[in-house]
């Protein structure tokens, strides 16, 4: 890490999430498969490596894994997302 200022929560991944899901997802509430707590995706901890991993702020359970490649993005999720209709 360069120490550069960058967001380290789900808010900072807002653009990628929007690319993947078609709308802003930072306010989406996830019910954690690990601890049962409910947190907005924007409040999840974000870790950058070969892509991004979002983890539950309550128990660090892996919530979302985003792979970033030249030609495509990949998405894996865990837990239950409540999506308003």
């Amino acid at each position: 890490m360069s120490g550069e200022q960058r967001q380290l929560d789900g808010n900072g991944v807002a653009a990628l999430l929007e690319e993947l899901l078609g709308a802003d997802a930072t306010g989406l509430v996830r019910v954690c498969a690990g601890c049962g707590q409910r947190h907005a995706l924007g409040a999840h901890r974000a870790y950058r490596g070969a892509g991004w991993v979002l983890r539950c702020p309550g128990c660090a359970d892996v919530a979302v894994v985003i792979g970033v490649a030249e030609e495509r993005l990949t998405l894996q999720t865990r837990g239950t997302f409540a999506i308003p209709r």
Binding site: M1, S2, G3, E4, Q5, R6, Q7, L8, D9, G10, N11, G12, A14, A15, E18, E19, G22, A23, D24, T26, G27, A40, L41, G42, A43
Partner: protein, 255 residues
């Protein structure tokens, strides 16, 4: 066809656009505000951010997120950038870039960390270092709307020389309902009688609306600052669902 329309809107919204620097404003010893003209800017809400992409001559690209510090009502968007000594992007923005220079930008993005006057109050804004940028957008929006929604702001800076927007914050209106407190964690300027310590429980109790009034709380800054302040808010009895946080990465130990 509906799908194509949705995708079209989406791709349009998230397209990389050209930003042209209109003005570079020195904010502090370490930070500048870039005022930007952006082609086909779709407008934003206070608290949102943009992704910025720089491309080197050899094709190497670096992307960063920066909060928008200008009000939605302004005719240009502004981002405030703090120089990180070993940073890859920020020294270019703080030391090199000039009016007329261009780079790529997309957004606005993020809907979780936003506020508008129609959401009402009271609200509490707590910013550490350059983390006050998105909170400043909220206060500028409130001023542009001539709103007297009750806002309590607490700004933490190391010294007066590091303080962002200090003169503007002192002059911002409407004064009715607006309460701004500073803490200078490494000592205030001569004659300073305000806080000179790290944000703590007593400060939160003095500055903020009481938890019983259920204020929405917005906390932004380096990760350790945000973890610390949100912990204080929860301990004080604020509803975790009312606490919105936005974290920045390490700031070279200068937080």
């Amino acid at each position: 066809m509906a799908r194509a329309a949705v995708l079209g809107r989406l791709i349009g919204r998230l397209a990389w656009r050209t930003a042209t620097v209109r003005e570079v404003v020195a904010e502090s010893e370490h930070a500048v505000t870039l005022v930007l003209d952006v082609t086909d800017w779709p407008g934003h809400r206070a608290g949102q951010h943009v992704d910025v992409r720089l491309t080197a001559d050899d094709g190497y690209q670096a992307e960063r997120s920066y909060s928008i510090s200008s009000a939605p009502e302004a005719d240009a968007i502004a981002i405030t950038v703090e120089r990180i000594e070993d940073g890859e992007v920020s020294p270019y923005f703080t030391d090199v870039i000039r009016p007329g220079d261009q780079f790529e930008l997309r957004g606005p993005v993020g809907g979780h960390f936003t506020w508008s006057v129609s959401d009402g109050g009271p609200i509490l804004l707590v910013g550490g270092g350059s983390g006050f940028a998105p909170l400043m957008a909220m206060l500028r929006h409130r001023a542009a709307q001539d709103s007297d929604v009750e806002v309590h702001a607490l700004v933490s800076a190391r010294t007066d020389a590091d303080a962002l927007y200090r003169d503007e914050l002192a002059a911002l209106g409407p004064a009715e309902g607006l309460h701004v407190a500073w803490t200078f964690t490494r000592g205030g300027p001569p004659g300073w009688t305000g806080y000179t310590r790290r944000v703590d429980a007593a400060m939160i109790a003095e500055v903020g609306p009481a938890p019983a009034r259920a204020p929405r709380c917005f906390v932004c800054g380096p990760t350790p600052f945000v973890e610390w302040v949100t912990g204080l808010l929860v301990d004080a009895g604020h509803d975790p669902q009312h606490i919105h946080a936005e974290r920045f990465g390490p700031t070279g130990g200068r937080a």
